[in-house]
């Protein structure tokens, strides 16, 4: 029988919707503002924090981090949604608190808020906790049942617009923020950031446990977005070694899981696409020609833009993000997924869309 003491908790008064009223449309028209929600009574309100019992914006549930493939991969099951720990929700506050200094504008917390009460401004994420005509403060504390009821009502509600509209200035800022916080984070930060962004765009991902010197691959990938995959994540110049390292990953997965190399999608995730003069692009092409292995490349910036648009990736052939010396550009790939032209000139920040010369 347990006789341990419990951590202190304050009661968080719940919010609920008016009787028989449900959300029917979510619109992200105005930047720097919570989403406007149209309800079945024909009126609109902005999203407000319902003090979820299980804080989706802060933590993944263990089930969400489960990967249906590579189940014995020694995964780091760090459940923090925010890779920089910019969002926190201690037992002493009513709603989540965001440290804008640490926020890198990735939009992960925004994407997970069931009532769209979290939004992005130019400096970072913000939480709206103000009650309104549709998010009515109750006298009872928030519990799992209330949270579940409201969350269910918001599921599958049509959603239009994007969290933040990309621009050269904004993407440059995102890059500076990522670089700026990287040195204050643990060595797991690049993998953590990449894993969470991949999950946000619909690719199942697990990251390796740091310190396990026996497993060298950074990520393994799986459904729903891809059948089997592996990832190497590099935020710095080491990205040039990534294709070599990822061939090692594919070989290990082929041998351990008796998969064909043709069924494993290798993904290099980097902050910038490597420079055109580097050997990276020619080697990627050589690997395709000699081994028939198509190494995909994607950047953190591209994943963030996709997250802002709630876009999902589906990898079937491995061609979707395969780019090499002949066309080292992600732009057509991203624009195809988004169904629109990107508001980014040239290569984007040093090279989030196109390889710089």
């Amino acid at each position: 029988m347990y006789q341990t003491l419990r951590p202190k908790r304050i009661d968080r008064p719940a919010k609920s919707l008016p009787d028989k009223i449900k959300p029917i449309q979510i619109d992200w028209h105005e930047q720097y503002f919570p989403a406007k929600i149209t309800f079945s009574d024909g009126k609109t309100s902005i999203g407000s924090c319902i003090r979820c019992f299980h804080p989706f914006c802060v933590e993944y549930s263990p089930k969400e981090l489960e990967l249906s493939v590579f189940q014995d991969f020694p995964a780091d099951k760090n459940s923090d949604v925010c890779p920089t720990s910019a969002i926190s929700w201690t037992h002493e506050t009513l709603s989540p608190v965001i440290n804008k200094e640490a926020c890198i504008l990735c939009g992960l917390c925004v994407s997970r808020c069931p009532t769209r009460a979290i939004y992005l401004d130019n400096d970072g994420a913000c939480v709206n906790d103000e009650p309104n005509a549709h998010f009515i403060l109750q006298n009872t504390p928030s519990d799992s049942e209330t949270t579940a009821i409201i969350t269910r009502l918001f599921q599958k509600v049509p959603e239009k617009g994007i969290y933040l509209f990309e621009s050269d200035i904004l993407m440059k800022k995102v890059r500076e923020k990522v670089e700026g916080v990287a040195h204050t984070q643990s060595a797991q930060f690049p993998n953590h950031l990449a894993r969470n962004l991949l999950i946000a765009v619909g690719i199942g991902a697990a990251m390796r446990r740091r310190g396990d010197t026996n497993i060298r691959m950074d990520l393994v990938l799986g459904p729903p977005g891809v059948k089997h995959g592996t990832g190497e994540v590099e935020l710095g110049a080491e990205v040039l070694d990534a294709p070599r390292n990822i061939l090692d990953n594919v070989a290990i997965l082929v041998a351990r899981y008796e998969l064909s190399k043709d069924n494993i999608i290798p993904f290099v995730v980097s902050l910038d696409l490597p420079n055109l003069r580097s050997e990276y692009w020619q080697f990627i092409k050589d690997v395709k020609n000699v081994l028939d292995v198509k190494i995909s490349s994607i950047t953190i910036g591209a994943l963030i833009v996709l997250t802002w648009s709630r876009a999902k990736i589906l990898i079937r052939t491995g061609e979707e993000f395969y780019i090499d010396i002949d066309s080292p550009s992600l732009r057509p790939r991203i624009e195809k997924i988004l169904g629109r032209t990107l508001n980014i000139k040239d290569a984007g920040y040093p090279g989030f869309l196109e390889s710089s010369k």
């Binding site: 003491l5 419990r6 760090n78 037992h91 070599r244 061939l247």
Partner: protein
């Protein structure tokens, strides 16, 4: 110097591992290191020899347990969990454990473990009865580190950490503490002074510098993870750019808290009446939980009583204490003062039968390829380089024996850098009759370090000088794969996909299973053949060819797969 184990520097994983072990093993009264290893593997928290799951256990288990990687990993975790007070050893068996009441609160705080972890970190103290360490010194390391940083302009580098707070005799002795601070302050400014001091310490304590550095890995990871410090390179302290830990505002607040608290050690309890002693133990523990955000209402009455009992000893009954009994006092004694939280009965004790005994040798596949030297009447095809012949002649004059000469040359090359080693390796292949040239630096399409040029079977060679790596590593194997891909794709020299791609290094891989597994995996996945040659084997082939009238079969070298095994037929 304090020797702090380092099973890994990722604190999130470290806490997660404790929680998983607790979840798996709490129903047992006690558990062993093997139980821990089995849990780590079952829950995909550990691997061995590149394998996961049950296979990892099989590959790790050795008859000599001191060489068993998983067993050692579990041992390192247990060491840290013990000094954090989350595990206790049994009185009659240091390697059999049970969870503690403090450890149970880590589980209670699972979603926000940071504060109770920080308290456990501040609770670490030496000597203690948990690790059964005794000694005349007295050190609360993290308190000493933070106070040192605070007194030294808010910053401390790794080597200062080693010579300073981790080597303190008594951190409560203000004279000793000040003299440690003065010493670091006087060293600052000259990097060489710090190096000299570190070397002196290494000599005096007979601990290698690398080992001392390893002992700082866990403390540094903790200082960063807790947010008490951040790392930053500074040029203004020494004459060069050095990575420093910088005390944050949060770290400064902890220093203020430490300075306002009474730091109690086990020896302070000697001579106290039992009532006061027990009250101090309970107060120390409950205050620790209180600072970590636990609700103390259920024990408020007990705390009030205990405060009254310690008034005389503390002077002020409301004095805050830094004292973590689960981390310092004799385990059985502390256990007797707190509720039994496990409910596990002694009869439930059962050890896991791990079924992992002698499979190791039969499972582990090591690829090796024989290259045989056989007697030959033929004269050597092309003359060897004069430098190579001179090298052997000098060695043979000194040793009068071919094998001893090989060993002498290998010894002579032990510190060679790439400028010396690469041309020499190419020269040795030429001495074997191959058309081999080492690559010019900066030629992008020649990614290999040397190449044996052949009409049909050109072989790229990845060379690792002892200056780059003493033992051939997986990195070299990856590069050999890359070399082969580039050679096949760009067709600069004719080759076939089944011809080997070579790695030549100073010593064979330290962990042969890791390298040979990768070679085997690469072959299975891509059909690319990679061969590994150490310098002694290459020298032996050359010596046989030049001085013993023997020759090798070139096909054996062209098809070399795995680690070379030179045999003398």
């Amino acid at each position: 110097m304090l020797r702090i184990a380092n099973p890994g520097s990722d604190i999130d994983s470290f806490i997660k591992i404790y929680c998983e072990l607790y979840d798996a093993l709490i129903d047992r009264a006690t558990f062993t290191l093997d139980d821990m290893s089995k849990t780590l593997v079952e829950r995909s928290l550990a691997t061995s020899c590149g394998y996961m799951g049950e296979e990892a256990l099989i590959r790790s288990t050795r008859e000599d347990r001191t060489r068993d990687p998983l067993y050692n990993q579990s041992k390192m975790y247990s060491e840290l969990f013990k000094i954090l007070g989350w595990l206790h050893p049994l009185p009659n068996s240091a390697l059999t454990f049970r969870f503690t009441y403090l450890g149970a609160h880590i589980i209670e705080a699972q979603c926000e473990p940071k504060e109770i972890f920080k308290e456990s970190i501040l609770g670490i103290v030496y000597p203690n009865a948990i690790l059964n360490i005794s000694g005349s010194y007295s050190l609360r390391p993290f308190s000493a580190i933070l106070r040192t940083m605070n007194s030294l302009d808010g910053l401390l580098c790794r080597d200062e950490l080693i010579i300073g707070p981790l080597c303190l005799d008594d951190d409560r002795d203000s004279d000793k503490f000040s003299s440690m601070l003065e010493e670091i302050a006087s060293i600052r400014g000259k990097w060489a002074r710090l190096g000299k001091k570190l070397q002196t310490l290494s000599d005096k304590r007979n601990i290698a510098k690398t080992t001392m550095e390893n002992y700082t890995r866990f403390p540094i990871a903790v200082l960063k993870w807790t947010g008490w410090s951040i790392s930053e390179r500074r040029r203004d302290v020494y004459e060069r750019s050095v990575p420093f830990l910088i005390l944050t505002d949060e770290g400064k607040k902890v220093v203020e808290t430490l300075q306002s608290c009474r730091d109690i050690r086990a020896k302070d309890l000697a001579g106290l009446d039992e009532e006061t002693k027990v009250s101090l133990v309970r107060l120390g523990f409950y205050q620790m939980l209180g600072r970590a955000g636990f609700e103390l209402e259920p024990v408020a009455e007990q705390i009030a009583k205990d405060r009254r009992h310690v008034t005389k000893f503390l002077g002020n009954p409301n004095m805050s204490l830094i004292f973590s009994p689960f981390q310092e006092l004799e385990p059985e004694y502390v256990k007797s003062l707190f509720p039994d939280f496990t409910g596990a009965s002694a009869s439930a004790q059962h050890e896991v039968k791990t079924k992992i005994f002698k499979k190791f040798s039969t499972v582990l596949s090591r690829i090796s390829s024989k290259v045989s030297l056989v007697a030959s009447n033929k004269t050597h095809g092309s003359p060897a380089d004069k430098e190579i012949i001179d090298l052997f002649n000098i060695a043979l004059q000194k040793t009068k024996d071919v094998d001893a000469a090989v060993e002498l040359i290998a010894h002579y090359l032990s510190g060679a850098n790439k400028d010396k080693f690469y041309p020499l390796v190419a020269g040795l292949f030429r001495a074997l009759g191959y058309d081999c040239r080492h690559s010019r630096p900066g030629v992008n399409y020649e990614r290999w370090d040397a190449l044996i040029s052949d009409e049909h079977n050109s072989i790229p060679i990845e060379i690792k000088s002892p200056g780059e790596e003493e033992f051939i590593s997986v990195k070299a194997v990856r590069q050999a794969l890359e070399n082969k891909i580039i050679l096949l794709a760009r067709k600069a020299f004719p080759t076939r996909s089944e011809t080997t791609s070579l790695v030549v290094g100073y010593n064979l891989p330290n962990d042969r299973s890791e390298v040979t597994s990768l070679i085997s995996d690469i072959y299975k996945a891509y059909g690319v053949v990679i061969g590994i040659i150490d310098i002694r084997s290459l020298l032996r082939l050359v010596a046989g060819t030049l001085f013993e009238g023997k020759k090798h079969n070139p096909d054996e070298l062209i098809n070399l797969h795995g680690i070379i095994d030179v045999s003398d037929a």
